[in-house]
Symmetry: C2
Subunit: 335 residues, 2 copies
């Protein structure tokens, strides 16, 4: 028997919806959370796809996350939006908030949005990509619970604290990156551990602070920031934006509050959206930027991030997605 | 004879003013440019202090940069400011624009500012620190001319493309970082070359794309981004913000336009300012953030960026600053 199974995207959607519903999500939340995992599966980003479903279900089951949350968006300043997630998962809060943020950016030139009282367990590229598809430049930041040692330290303090950025390219896919301020995303370290693969040196340290290539030791010890103190500075910036600025919690606080049920800790997310038509040359900014992309991608060895995702996106609607059989069994056991 | 000289800050100020004036800067521009170099010297950031004065003077002398520019700020959207530097150095444009940006951030919650038609040859921390001292969270980004190879490539394409961030800490010094998306700032590579010191592996590559520790080879070849492809993504983000968004030029364009007189190329700068009082808990955000800083700095081995600068700032008003004699002689030769 093969140790993998192939599902169509429709089958995967049904599976996710059934599992979330069985664990207490209502229709709107199950749909929003499933959609965010399906965007990852469609792009073959396994670490943010159905791999997360057991965690989502665990947090519903433990009662930590509200499966019937109704997030509320409010305008708190001409350029500022706040979404109270009401203790639910982030995807529905984003569905509520993103249109308000986009509208504000288009009238103000720039706008910011803080999501508080949410549980974020997904990648950040879906939200910035959504904004860029509407012609906006976008940033997103979120904290987590302590997993990364600050530069110079050996104990976990920061979350993997990703920062995502998207740039609109009218008529084609936006330029998007979504990168942990950790050297490796948590989900990828977990997948390396699951599959018994070593991680590159620099990914993290063991409990005594020694560099290691064993992902299990890194998970017990601490991940390292990317690029040394510079990545560490970005991690702290993310704490200040997604925790301090918007009135949410910092990763160490989130870690202390968490019930360790396997799902995400409570947290916040900060986004910014900017309308290039307001800042530069409204008629030519996009065309001007294409000259940069052309010149860059003409260089030997250089490619833009997200190309592999976009290629997968064209294939998975017909090829379906491949899951470890153990994951499918785990998911079936959730219902 | 010692190969260094000690000057008081007042003497250094007079020296800079005289040299800039002798090369065609009017009083306002000489004062703004001198002030920005003195902020660096005061903090013992040699690479952005008087070390830059010959470059500033060269660009005045060649006629590339206008010594009598009068930058003009305009409000282009409720949250957007544009400053046309009118072909002058950045410092006077920033003096004109920063109060407008700060005011907008305080009323809108968030605001952005594009500076175009400027010549930026300074660090970015002074502008974000200035905004943070007014209670605002601030970002700044600027491009340059091609010096850094994109991840995967071997030819210079990006500028060193710094990103600076500041967080206000009422009652004490703001948290500030200002970091090149290159592994090492250009000025530091130049100072290593001048002083005959090797640079760490990873700083850059020679003309054939081979890793090297010789700063002269790096200057002939290409610098590398910090943290591999993640730093490269940040470099591209900076191009898009400081070049594409605000209607300025990209580093490769700036490089082609430049007369190579030793001063900075034409460019742009993008800044954002955010008022934490609008996004989170207006009464407690600062206090909440101090719990994070306390917990972080209590960790063994961890220190915040800028501490060395702040220490120097307390000392140099009495100790003066130390310059290589060769630099003083070079500066005297400019007049």
């Amino acid at each position: 028997m093969s140790d993998t199974v192939t599902l169509s995207l429709a089958e995967a959607t049904d599976l996710s919806t059934a599992a979330l519903t069985a664990n207490g999500a209502d229709g709107e939340n199950a749909s929003a959370v499933t959609d965010i995992m399906m965007r990852a599966e469609r792009d073959r980003c396994a670490s943010h796809g159905l791999f997360r479903l057991p965690g989502y279900c665990a947090s519903l089951k433990s009662g930590k996350v509200k499966g019937d949350a109704r997030p509320v968006a409010s305008e708190i300043a001409p350029g500022a939006v706040r979404v109270d997630g009401q203790g639910g998962f982030a995807p529905l809060a984003l569905e509520v908030g993103l249109p308000v943020l986009a509208q504000k950016a288009k009238t103000q030139g720039i706008a910011g949005m803080g999501l508080v009282n949410i549980y974020h367990f997904a990648a950040l590229w879906p939200e910035v990509e959504t904004l860029a598809e509407q012609g906006l430049c976008a940033f997103a930041f979120t904290q987590a619970s302590p997993m990364v040692a600050p530069a110079g330290g050996i104990k976990p303090f920061f979350g993997t604290n990703p920062m995502a950025f998207a740039w609109p390219r009218p008529g084609q896919n936006p330029y998007v990156f979504d990168q942990a301020s950790a050297a490796m995303a948590r989900g990828d370290v977990m997948i390396h551990a699951r599959d018994g693969h070593p991680v590159p040196l620099g990914t993290g340290i063991d409990e005594d602070g020694n560099p290691t290539t064993d992902p299990n030791e890194v998970l017990k010890g601490a991940q390292s920031p990317f690029g040394g103190y510079k990545g560490s500075n970005i991690a702290l910036m993310v704490e200040l934006l997604a925790g301090g600025l918007i009135g949410s919690v910092f990763s160490p606080e989130a870690g202390r509050l968490d019930n360790k049920d396997g799902g995400p800790p409570v947290g916040g997310e900060f986004l910014m959206a900017i309308d290039p038509a307001h800042f530069g040359d409204a008629a030519h900014w996009a065309q001007h930027c294409e000259t940069l992309f052309s010149e860059l991608t003409a260089m030997e060895g250089v490619r833009l991030p997200g190309e592999r995702r976009r290629k997968a996106r064209l294939e998975t609607p017909t090829s379906g997605i491949v899951l470890p059989r153990s994951l499918l069994e785990k998911i079936n056991g959730l219902m």
